[in-house]
Subunit: 198 residues, 4 copies
DNA sequence: TATGAATGAGTCTTCATTCAT
DNA sequence: TATGAATGAAGACTCATTCAT
């Protein structure tokens, strides 16, 4: 019945993501987004107020989506090993399912440091992080996980996947990251399982 | 006794790196670099031709430096384990010794895609990569290293360190990456050593 | 009662013509046009896209005006003699009526070689030329006009007026070209009338 | 025995003329001339002092050359008719022999209006002009030439050739102007000969 | 005479944002 | 809500010219 299924707001977000993907946020002009979204400049400002706000909205959405996937996978993990692997797999699943969003998050973490959204984003991230810590803490304490400085775990678990995602999303690697799902999950677990574990 | 030891060209590069570190390449204006380097606009263009070329020069230099460190460490590695760890350690040593350059490389890999230096850089990287492959190939073939798709090794070895370097260099993590040198080296080895290895 | 009758676009064109007349296109800065037109830089670029495009628009307009005058005069010519003289007179009338535009066209024919308008202009000119050829062809064939290579006619008919227009419009000659309307018309006819004509 | 026949000064002039021909004076940069002449910037300034001075030198030389040709042809003219035709022919001969110089003069008369050379040039031109007037005056007085306002003669004699030279030198006309030498000479004479002349 | 690094005022152009309709 | 003309600050880059060697 309506002329379009998507709301004007969503059309703008979609157009913006495409533009940001092609040119980066700074090199994308309001006019490029206007052209691709077929909305007027005025309309864009009515809905978002600024270019940065569009980027921020995309960023927050994408991150929430990733966290959603992660929460779901982690919820069904019964052992530490499954927990560790869930983190890695969740990231890989999300990247493979939404490469554009993943690329956007990967390439623009810095942009929001100076943005007005920095605080809100920081809060979200912290709260998400503390959920994770709560899940893993008992296993670290019990020795089911190698004891390391707290700051290292995240990098060891997701570092390889992050690294390969960059390669793949920029075209420098050809194989879909999904193909390496278990390889990176295993790598994470092998790096974190206690020495005596077999 | 001249007024300055450094060449004008180097002064410009140094000033540019500082500015890029503080604001990012796009947000850094030619005028900021001029002010910090005490060189004239004209002089900057005489030597580099464009803002992007300054960034490209920094990028190429930094990468070469990292590769230097890596080559040196790898040369003294006698076993696969030492080889794997050398890659991780070389990265960490370089990051810790030259945080500004590391930050610059980490945040600006995309910048050179369109630059004139892109080709030269591609060549260098490929030749460097093939050196690495040559070093590791025999060990992969002999089973001294876990057999995985070739594309995965680099991400598994350096992924965690890359990830933590980002955290540390952006201020989101406090501990100097050097403190985790052996942790990330071990993680790389544990992820890649053959199953039966003890 | 609005503040101004003219559209912003026309105001910019008028200001630009004045500036170009005073300084030439290259020596005229966008800022000069802005100052005289009281429009903002942005507005100028909104409407024209570049300094050259403003010049191109002026050029096309001016030429069209001249062709208009020419077409009108030629339409009422009953004999070859009147036709030849109409071409000369039309040019002189137009120059005398719109000295600024004439000066602009005379001094900037080269400007449009690289412009996007070059093609459109070429088409217009060709079509206009073929109209002229069509008018004169029968008289050339009938011997009512001296038989010469086709390329020569235009220069013989309008050359003297073009030449004097340059002199007058640049201030090197004092007498209004209108004073010599019949002299140049006669010169054209005398140069082209058949030998035996009296 | 020497490395080059041409003096450095002449090399610069030649390079400059090529550049000016291709891009116009304003669009030609000192650097373009430097590149083509294989001289250094410093050398160019040593010899000429400014970009405009190079243009001025070219202009003055070219004009002198034209006047030379004109003087020679006029000297051997025994009748008014031969005198009138000499002026037209001299111009055509010079243009055909030195198209680059002619193009340069034709397209840059305006440039020197503001130059420091304006005065010197004006003097030369005036003195040359008075020579011409002296030659023709008796014939005008005697009625051997049509009586017209003094300002008109030059335009009537050389206008057609000037006009066609522009066409040819810009590529809009294909036939070498030399082919029309007598046509334009005749046109000039037919336009200026007394009515009763046969 | 020759060289080329250095200078810096001056240009065009871009672009986020505002606002009258 | 939508539109797009208007704004003007800000930026990258150019280029004639100077000058130390």
């Amino acid at each position: 019945m309506t002329t379009s299924k998507k709301s004007r707001k969503q059309e703008i977000l979609d157009a913006a993501l495409s533009c940001f993907t092609e040119n980066g946020i700074e090199a994308t002009t309001i006019d490029m987004i206007r052209e691709r979204s077929r909305a007027s400049v005025g309309s864009m400002y009515h809905h978002f107020g600024s270019k940065e706000s569009i980027a921020a909205a995309l960023y927050v959405d994408a991150l929430a989506e990733h966290h959603e996937v992660q929460k779901a996978l982690l919820a069904s993990a019964k052992t530490v090993e499954e927990g560790v692997k869930a983190i890695a797999r969740a990231y890989i699943d999300w990247v493979s399912a939404h490469p554009d969003k993943a690329r956007f998050v990967l390439h623009n973490r810095g942009v929001l440091a100076k943005s007005a959204l920095a605080n809100e984003l920081g809060d979200r991230t912290r709260s998400h992080m503390s959920d994770l810590v709560q899940w893993f803490r008992p296993h670290i304490d019990s020795g089911a996980l190698k004891k390391l400085p707290l700051e290292c775990y995240a990098s060891i678990i997701t570092g390889p996947a992050h690294d390969y995602a960059r390669l793949w999303l920029s075209g420098r690697a050809k194989t879909d990251i999904k193909a390496f799902r278990e390889i990176f999950a295993d790598a994470a677990w092998n790096a974190l399982k206690p020495e005596h574990s077999r």
